[in-house]
C-alpha cells in the first residue's frame, strides 16, 4: 500500500511540473523531446505500483470471443497460433496467458503452433504461466493429451493453406519431436474442420489478416483475433463482415478479456500504465498545439508548413 501512495505522490508532483512545461510552451520555448521521454517513462512506470481499478467497457468484439469459448462443450479443440515474438510480448503475452488459462478452465484441448519462429517459445512461456495458476494446476493439464505445441513452420500463409488439407502435412511432428499420429490430442484432427475454434495472437504479417483470408474465408474456420493496439484498426473491417468472430485489441482488449473471464491479471495492471501514458500524450498534444497557435499568431505572415505535419 505504501508503494501505491508513493506512486500517487510522484504523479501529483509530476502533474504539477506540467505547469512549467505549459508556461515554457506559452513563452514559445517548447521542451526538448528527451523531457517528453522522461514524462512518458514516469507515466508508464509509476502506475505499476498503484492499486486503482478503472471502469472498462464491454465491447462486442471481446465478449463474442468469451461467449464462443464458453459455449463450446468441454473437450473442444482450440487451435492457437502464436504469430509474434518477444518484442511484442509485453502487449500480447498477457492476453495469451489469460486466454490459455480460460481455455484450460473450460476443459478445452489446446493445439498450439506458430507462423513466427519465436511464437512457439512465447506459447511455452504462456503455458508455464497458466500452469502456475493454482486453479489450472488443479486440473493438471497433460502435454499431448490436453495441449500440444506443434512448433514453428516457415512458409507464412502457405502453411495455413497447407493445413487446410491436412495439419499433418505442415506439422509432421510436434515441437518435442513426437510423431503427429502418436499425439493423443491430435487423433482425429485432420484439418480445420476438426478444430472448433482458432485463436490468433499476432503483431504483424503473417498474422490475423492471413488467418482470416485463408483459414476463415477458404476453409470456413471460426477465427478470433488478438492483436497489438496498432494493428487492431486494420481488423475492424473483418469484424464488421463477420469474417473475424472477435478481437482483443492491445492491452485494453486483454484487460477486458481478463475481466470478462473473471481472471484479473497482468493486463489490468498494465492497462493503468497505458492509461497514464495516453493522458500524457494527450497533454503534450495540447501543449504542442498551444505552441503552434502562439507561433502562428506571432509570425502570421510567414506561416509556411513545417515538415511532419498531418495536413
Amino acid at each position: 500500500m505504501a508503494g501505491h501512495w508513493i506512486a500517487v505522490a510522484i504523479n501529483v508532483v509530476v502533474g504539477l511540473t506540467l505547469v512549467w512545461v505549459l508556461v515554457r510552451t506559452i513563452q514559445g520555448r517548447p521542451i526538448e523531446r528527451r523531457i517528453v521521454f522522461v514524462y512518458i517513462a514516469l507515466a508508464v512506470a509509476t502506475p505499476l505500483f498503484m492499486k486503482l481499478e478503472a471502469p472498462l467497457a464491454e465491447t462486442p468484439e471481446v465478449q463474442s470471443i468469451v461467449t464462443t469459448i464458453k459455449e463450446l462443450p468441454p473437450g473442444s479443440r482450440i487451435l492457437i497460433s502464436f504469430d509474434y515474438d518477444p518484442q511484442s510480448a509485453p502487449e500480447l503475452q498477457p492476453m495469451a496467458e489469460a486466454f490459455i488459462k480460460f481455455a484450460f478452465k473450460q476443459r478445452h484441448k489446446v493445439i498450439i503452433m506458430g507462423l513466427w519462429p519465436l511464437g512457439p517459445d512465447q506459447a511455452n512461456q504462456a503455458i508455464r504461466a497458466a500452469l502456475e495458476d493454482p486453479s489450472v494446476a488443479e486440473l493438471a493439464p497433460e502435454y499431448g493429451v490436453d495441449y500440444v505445441n506443434l512448433g514453428f513452420q516457415s512458409g507464412n500463409e502457405f502453411v495455413i493453406q497447407g493445413m487446410g488439407s491436412a495439419f499433418k502435412n505442415m506439422f509432421p511432428q510436434d515441437e518435442r519431436g513426437t510423431i503427429y499420429d502418436n499425439i493423443p490430442i491430435l487423433r482425429g484432427v485432420t484439418n480445420f474442420s476438426n478444430v472448433d475454434y482458432v485463436q490468433v495472437f499476432s503483431s504483424g504479417k503473417p498474422g490475423t489478416r492471413e488467418w482470416v483470408q485463408v483459414a476463415a474465408d477458404r476453409f470456413g474456420a471460426t477465427v478470433g483475433g488478438g492483436t497489438t493496439a496498432v494493428q487492431a484498426p486494420e481488423m475492424y473491417p473483418f469484424l464488421r463482415s463477420n469474417q473475424l468472430i472477435g478481437l482483443m485489441g492491445g492491452m485494453t482488449g486483454a484487460a477486458e478479456f481478463e475481466k470478462a473471464v473473471e481472471e484479473l491479471g497482468k493486463a489490468n495492471t498494465f492497462l493503468l500504465s497505458q492509461m497514464f501514458a495516453h493522458a500524457t500524450v494527450i497533454v503534450f498534444v495540447i501543449f504542442g498545439n498551444i505552441a503552434y497557435f502562439r507561433s502562428r499568431r506571432r509570425d502570421a505572415s510567414t506561416d509556411a508548413p513545417t515538415p511532419g505535419g498531418i495536413s
Partner: protein, 411 residues
C-alpha cells in the same frame, strides 16, 4: 464428502479407454475418454437420427462433407459428450475411425486420404454416459445408420469465385487496353505525386551536404508486392545517386531482398554511366528480426547521420522507431507503404509520404514508360467501377430495396 461421483467418473474414464481400444483397434482416444468423464450422467442416450455425406463443392476432389442430425439427447449439460465419425469403402463395408467432434457439432470434413471417384460410406456414433439403476455409470458408443455411398468429385472451376473472376477479367482487360493505348501514343495523364517529385531534390540535398542517402526497403521478402514496388523505386533513386555521385546505402532485412537490390542498383549505376561507382557492400543484410533490424538501422542513422532517408516497402511497428530517429538526425525523409496502420506514423515523422496505392503507382510514375502509365489507368478504371458499385449498393440498401451484396459473395 460424496465420493460416488468422482468414482463414477474415474470408472467412466477406464470404460471409454477400453471401449475405444476394442472398437478402433488403433488405440484409445484419450481425449474423448476425458470428455466423457466430465459429462453429467443421464439415462438412455439416443443415436444420431440420420447421416448424410456429400462431395465438398468447388474443390480438387479431395474432401467429403459429413453432416448429421444431432442426437435428441444432445443438449447443454446432457449425456452426449461427442461424436465419433467412421468411414468405410463402399465395397468392403469395414468401418474405421476418421475423427471425433464435440457435442453439439453436426458436421465434419473428411479431407484426408480421400480419392476422387471412390465410393465411401460414413457412420456417426454418439458418445455418451449412461447412469445405471445402481448409481454407477458407463459409457456408450451408439452407432447410427450409415450414409448412402458418396464419392468426391474433381471440380474444374470454383463457382464460388465466379464474381472474383469476372471482376478480375474486366479490370485486367481494361488495364491491357490502356497499356496498348499508351503504346500507340495515347495521352495518359497522371497527377503529380509530391513524394516522388521530391526524390531528386532530396538526393541533391545529400550531395550538397556531403552525406549519405539511406534506402530502407521494408521488412518483408520479395514475395510481398510492396517490396517489389520499393525495389522499383530504388532503381530510380540509385540512378540519381549515381549521377550525383552520392553514397547510397541499402540495409535489408531479407537475404533475397539484398540480392535483388544489388542487382537493381548495379543496373542503375550502369545506366547512369557509372558502373565502377557501384560497390556490393552498399547493399547489406542485417537480420530478419523486426526490432533487431530497426535497432541496427537506427544505429547506423545515428552514427552516419544521412541527409536523406527513403522508407519504401512493407513496414510494421518499426516504422515510427526508424522515422523518428531519422527525424532527430535531421534527415529529409520520404516514406511509402501500403500498410494502413503505419501510414499515420510516417505522415507524422516524414516530410513526404506515399499513401497506399501511390507506392505502387510510383514506379510507373518514375519510369514515364507509356506501358506502365497505361496500367495505372486500368487501376483507376477499376476504382471507378468499385465507386459506382458502392454508391449503388449503399443507396439500394439504405432505401431497403435490395441487398446487392448477397449476389456478389466470394468464398
Amino acid at each position: 464428502m460424496n465420493v460416488r461421483r468422482p468414482l463414477c467418473l474415474l470408472f467412466a474414464v477406464f470404460a471409454i479407454v477400453g471401449l475405444s481400444r476394442a472398437q478402433d483397434g488403433d488405440g484409445a482416444d484419450t481425449a474423448s475418454a476425458e470428455i466423457i468423464a466430465e459429462a453429467a450422467p443421464v439415462i438412455s442416450p439416443l443415436p444420431v437420427p440420420s447421416v448424410t455425406a456429400s462431395d465438398v463443392p468447388n474443390d480438387d476432389g479431395s474432401a467429403i462433407l459429413v453432416e448429421w442430425e444431432l442426437s435428441p439427447s444432445d443438449s447443454v449439460g446432457g449425456a452426449v459428450v461427442g461424436y465419433r465419425i467412421y468411414r468405410a469403402f463402399a465395397d468392403s463395408g469395414v468401418f474405421v475411425v476418421i475423427g471425433n467432434r464435440s457435442a453439439r457439432q453436426n458436421s465434419t470434413v473428411n479431407g484426408e486420404e480421400v480419392e476422387p471417384g471412390v465410393d465411401y460410406l460414413y457412420r456417426v456414433d454418439v458418445l455418451a454416459v449412461r447412469t445405471n439403476a445402481d448409481g454407477s455409470s458407463d459409457t456408450l458408443a451408439i452407432p447410427s445408420q450409415s450414409s448412402v455411398p458418396v464419392a468426391a468429385v474433381v471440380q474444374w472451376f470454383n463457382t464460388d469465385r465466379l464474381w472474383a473472376l469476372i471482376w478480375f477479367v474486366i479490370i485486367a482487360a481494361a488495364t491491357i487496353y490502356f497499356i496498348e493505348k499508351a503504346k500507340r501514343g495515347g495521352n495518359i495523364y497522371v497527377r503529380k505525386i509530391g513524394g516522388i517529385d521530391a526524390v531528386d531534390d532530396a538526393i541533391g540535398r545529400a550531395t550538397e551536404m556531403g552525406r549519405k542517402v539511406f534506402f530502407v526497403p521494408g521488412i518483408q521478402d520479395m514475395n510481398d508486392v510492396q517490396t517489389i514496388a520499393g525495389i522499383a523505386i530504388l532503381g530510380r533513386v540509385g540512378a540519381v545517386a549515381a549521377e550525383y555521385e552520392t553514397r547510397l546505402e541499402v540495409p535489408t532485412s531479407r537475404s533475397m531482398v539484398m540480392v535483388t537490390a544489388r542487382e537493381t542498383l548495379k543496373e542503375s549505376y550502369s545506366k547512369a554511366g557509372r558502373p565502377d561507382s557501384f560497390q556490393e557492400d552498399q547493399v547489406y543484410y542485417l537480420t530478419d528480426e523486426q526490432f533487431a533490424y530497426a535497432a541496427a538501422v537506427d544505429g547506423r542513422i545515428v552514427r552516419e547521420r544521412p541527409a536523406t532517408i527513403f522508407y519504401m516497402g512493407a513496414f510494421f511497428a518499426e516504422s515510427l522507431i526508424l522515422s523518428e530517429t531519422g527525424n532527430a538526425a535531421g534527415a529529409i525523409q520520404i516514406a511509402g507503404t501500403a500498410e494502413p496502420t503505419q501510414l499515420p506514423f510516417f505522415v507524422a515523422a516524414c516530410d513526404y509520404t506515399l499513401l497506399g496505392e501511390e507506392l505502387f503507382a510510383a514506379s510507373a510514375y518514375l519510369s514515364r514508360e507509356p506501358r506502365q502509365l497505361g496500367s495505372l489507368k486500368g487501376q483507376d478504371f477499376g476504382k471507378g467501377i468499385f465507386l459506382l458499385a458502392i454508391l449503388l449498393g449503399v443507396i439500394l440498401a439504405t432505401a431497403n430495396l435490395i441487398d446487392l451484396s448477397q449476389y456478389f459473395r466470394i468464398n
